[in-house]
Amino acid sequence: MVLATAGKPGAAVAHPRGAEIIARLKTAGVREIVALPDIVTSDGLLWPISRDPELRLTRVCKEDEGVSICAAMSYNGTRAVMLMQQTGLMDSLNVIRAVGVDYELPVVMLVGLQGKEPHLAPEESAAYGVRIIRPVLDAMQLSHSLIEEPSDVDHIPEAIAAAYAASRPHVFLIGRSPEAS
């Protein structure tokens, strides 16, 4: 477990393990990963995923492509996850609105919060682009949850199952870089 100290004297925080997130994705039946690299999740998630023979990785040029790919895959029950940074999430809001909300399709997203201080809640971040994420998701009535502590990974299978059962999107916000080992 990596302990990070950032910003606040004495504020040491634990990070989730990438291997545990990947294991939970598999438990949820996910074998398709669609991704655009994000520095928050690069070492701990995307590089390991790219080497995992049980997962198929589709690399996209722009994040909204991935939202559409995941949505279309869902029609035959294929479970997929889109991996991206919050800037890509913001860039994809219209497609998420269209296929996720208007068309009621289960698009699951893992979103790295680039620029978020590890010991702070997203709304406490000095970065405007981080502070606004959860309010924006709330305004769109999109389901979301935070992955920061190592134990936060435990809710991943249940949240994915709920997204597919309800045929609605879910956004996992990665608030601390997952540990690579």
Binding site: D64, N76, R97
Partner: protein, 191 residues
């Protein structure tokens, strides 16, 4: 020489099998729905430009089916990176048709940026598609169709078209839950 959009679609009808998926957008979609209503017509693209990405998801998740995309030229310009993504994914069951009228037809027929010069087949070729070509007349398209469908994808075919008959624009249907359910039921029907 001119190629009417509905004539091009009619030429495709006998070559699209019952098991194939067709993803169509805007006027090509409305024309296709009128000319060839079928359960595996995918109309729920949702946001302009996303047809090729939906089709890629369908092609990856349904490798035993061919996926046809009837895209618009203005639509493709909104998602040009998808050419690279599709080529990178190596989907052999992916057949991309761009109906190029060089205008935003359903949004007032304003010209595309670069309307007189942009080369969609060239861009697909440069992106890594397995093959790409353009047609400007019906006889040429009819003659080329069987061969291009025998080649493994991703294949790009650009059709330089003019409007044909004025088929109705049924937006209510393409955005309906019933259309999505019809497709879903057909896709998951035992073969």
């Amino acid at each position: 020489m001119t190629l009417r959009r509905d004539d091009a679609l009619k030429a495709l009808i006998p070559l699209v099998n019952d098991e194939d998926i067709v993803v169509a957008v805007y006027q090509s979609c409305f024309d296709w729905l009128a000319l060839n209503p079928r359960d595996l017509n995918y109309v729920a693209v949702g946001a302009m430009g996303q047809a090729s990405s939906h089709a890629l998801g369908l092609a990856l998740a349904n490798p035993a089916r061919r996926v046809f995309v009837f895209d618009g030229d203005g639509s493709l310009l909104m998602n040009l990176g998808s050419l690279v993504t599709v080529a990178g994914a190596g989907v052999a069951n992916f057949y991309h048709f761009v109906f190029a009228n060089r205008v935003y037809e359903v949004n007032g027929s304003h010209p595309l940026p670069g309307a007189d010069t942009v080369d969609f087949a060239g861009m697909a070729r440069a992106a890594g598609y397995a093959g790409a070509r353009s047609f400007e007349d019906l006889d040429g398209f009819r003659g080329g169709l069987p061969g291009l469908l025998e080649a493994p994808g991703p294949q790009m075919t650009v059709l330089e078209i003019v409007p044909g008959a004025p088929y109705p624009r049924d937006y209510a249907y393409i955005h309906s839950a019933a259309a999505r359910q019809r497709f879903r039921a057909a896709l998951n029907r035992p073969r």
